[in-house]
């Protein structure tokens, strides 16, 4: 079941004195499934926060539909089971930790009878039990992040949306947030979070969506996205002759062993096929694993190249792909998703 579903969502804006339309998001379609951790990755300005604001009804799409638990996201009732933590959260700094969570519990309609217990328990859960009576203006950034998580989770939401939750945190704070996200999943919640810290994404996410300049470039499991394309192989050879190998670049040499980097399967076959005598022997072949970062960097560069060819529209003058709710890329005629290009490479 799709917990959060965007279908052909586009969003543009105009500057005050200009009639020109700038596209922030173009034809965005994807779905977040129940119980998964979904990472929404992209560079700064890719449109991640805009997507989240659209999902929460803070912005309105130019076209397309957004549904939360099957209901129109613009309706307040759709957000009844949603918790949200914005990037660099700003809260009422005149409130104490307790007052702040109590206020948000009231907004969720938690009855007075259980509210005190719920608020106290949440303060403990986010590690601020001993800061209940301190005003938020005296909180550190990490503490603000934790109290922000507290307000997001106060009503045990089924969908938790976090905008850059690790941004600006120290390593301990980041680990705490990571643990909390995993804990949420263990409790049965669905977590959707945006980030540009890709190491966290690879560690945490069941699936990711990659947004580049307002266009969705890929959706799927991390393993599926990074698998398939091997940018190069590292081949270790016993190479007593001392001369250069027939192809590839020698990275290092130690006595009669050399490490050679080859960048195509053709060169790899050619190199291995030459090992037919003279003491030359294959010791190991290691395909380089592509990381999400490599993938993102490549997509951004590709989009930059495409933008130069576009007719002056910002973000997404090029074709762009969309994925079906099940995560299998479908795209359109001019689709440009990772999945499609990989299929083309295979052919």
């Amino acid at each position: 079941m799709a917990v959060l579903e965007l279908d052909s969502v586009s969003k543009s804006y105009r500057t005050h004195l200009s009639l020109r339309k700038y596209w922030i998001l173009r034809d965005l379609s994807f779905a977040v499934r129940e119980g998964e951790i979904f990472g929404f990755i992209g560079t700064n300005g890719a449109g991640k926060t805009t997507t989240i604001k659209l999902a929460l009804g803070l912005l309105f799409p130019d076209n397309g539909t957004i549904r939360i638990f099957g209901a129109d996201a613009a309706r307040p009732a759709a957000r009844r089971r949603v918790g949200f933590l914005p990037e660099n959260p700003y809260f009422y700094d005149y409130l104490t930790g307790y007052e702040f969570l109590d206020f948000h519990a009231r907004l969720h309609g938690i009855p007075a009878a259980g509210r005190r217990r719920r608020v106290t328990a949440m303060l403990e859960r986010v590690g601020l039990g001993n800061r209940a009576d301190r005003q938020l203006r005296h909180f550190s950034k990490g503490m603000l992040q934790r109290i922000g998580l507290g307000q997001a989770l106060i009503d045990e939401p089924a969908l938790v949306i976090l905008d850059e939750p690790m941004s600006g945190l120290d390593p301990i704070g980041r680990r705490d947030v990571r643990d909390l996200i995993l804990d949420l999943k263990a409790r049965g919640s669905t977590v959707f979070f945006s980030t540009h810290i890709l190491s966290d994404t690879e560690l945490l996410c069941d699936r990711v969506g990659m947004l580049v300049k307002g266009c969705l470039k890929a959706v799927g499991r991390v393993e599926d996205l990074v698998r398939g394309e091997t940018p190069f192989w590292e081949v270790t050879l016993r190479w007593p002759s001392g001369g250069p190998p027939p192809c590839g670049r020698v990275v290092s040499r130690h006595e009669d062993e050399i490490l050679v980097r080859v960048e195509s399967q053709h060169d790899l076959h050619r190199l291995v096929s030459t090992l037919n005598g003279g003491g030359a022997r294959l010791l190991s072949v290691t395909p380089a694993r592509q990381s999400l970062e490599d993938l993102l960097v490549r997509e951004v560069r590709r989009a930059d190249g495409g933008e130069k060819d576009a007719d002056g529209e910002e973000h997404g003058g090029e074709g762009h792909g969309a994925d079906e709710p099940d995560g299998a890329p479908t795209g359109t005629a001019e689709s440009d998703t990772v999945g499609e290009r990989r299929a083309a490479d295979a052919r």
Partner: protein, 255 residues
């Protein structure tokens, strides 16, 4: 009042009472009411009138200042500081947010006016010149504050605090000078121009309905009909303004 509106209202009240500006205004107002005694000594024969006039004018000015200074930032400052994001991401209607902010400031004004009135009546009782008519004047002033707060929140929903402040204060001044449109209409020969004046009179807030200071200071009675009309005017005009504010905020994007 639904729970969410009440929660936002109480939080707005809490914000106001933790705001130094409110105390600054209140201290000035209380000091000025006490100054009425000193000012009255400088006049001959009309000490009672001066004290009442000065006290009511002080409550009027400081109540309006509180309405405007706190009201103009009620919504726009929340957007500017981005505190509104987490609120509107909750299962609340935007209208509940606007109404919660409004009623929170109404509660603040109620406490503010009550404190000023208590000081004022303390002085009047001490001088032995307390008068029930003054209470009616203060109730009408409070109704005026409610209307001005609605206007301030309307502008706050669509503009920044500076522009909101200018527009609200402009309407406050115009609202007390609407009678001058009658003089203008008498001089105009064009029927169209007179019709435009009539439209302005109907659309702009007529705050003279809430101003009976002159009457009560001179000992003239304020009829129940005048009071009822003021209540009715506030109910209709204030509701229309708040509905407009909610409609505008409903369409506003949180960039």
């Amino acid at each position: 009042m639904p729970g969410r509106i009440l929660a936002i209202a109480l939080n707005t009240f809490r914000e106001a009472i933790r705001n130094r500006i409110l105390y600054l205004l209140l201290v000035f107002a209380v000091a000025l009411i006490l100054c009425a005694q000193a000012v009255s000594l400088m006049t001959v024969g009309s000490e009672e009138k001066i004290i009442k006039d000065f006290g009511l004018a002080t409550i009027d000015i400081f109540g309006v200042l509180t309405s405007v200074l706190l009201g103009i930032g009620l919504v726009s400052r929340e957007i500017e500081r981005r505190t509104v994001y987490v609120l509107l991401a909750k299962p609340i209607h935007r209208a509940e947010f606007v109404l919660g902010k409004y009623f929170g400031l109404v509660l603040t004004l109620l406490v503010n006016t009550a404190v000023m009135t208590a000081w004022f009546f303390g002085l009047l009782v001490a001088k032995g010149i307390a008068d029930a008519g003054l209470a009616k004047a203060i109730v009408l002033l409070f109704l005026q504050f409610l209307l001005i707060t609605a206007l301030a929140i309307l502008f706050s929903c669509m503009s920044n605090p500076i522009i909101s402040c200018i527009l609200t204060l402009a309407l406050y001044v115009i609202g007390h000078l609407l009678w001058s449109f009658d003089l203008l209409k008498a001089r105009l020969t064009s029927a169209t121009a007179r019709a435009i004046c009539t439209v302005f009179q109907a659309v702009l807030p007529n705050l003279s309905h809430f101003d009976v200071k002159g009457q009560v200071v001179h000992g003239l009675p304020v009829s129940a009909g005048d009071m009822a009309f003021a209540f009715g005017y506030l109910a209709l005009y204030g509701t229309a303004i708040l509905l407009l504010a909610c409609a505008i905020f409903q369409r506003r994007e949180m960039q």
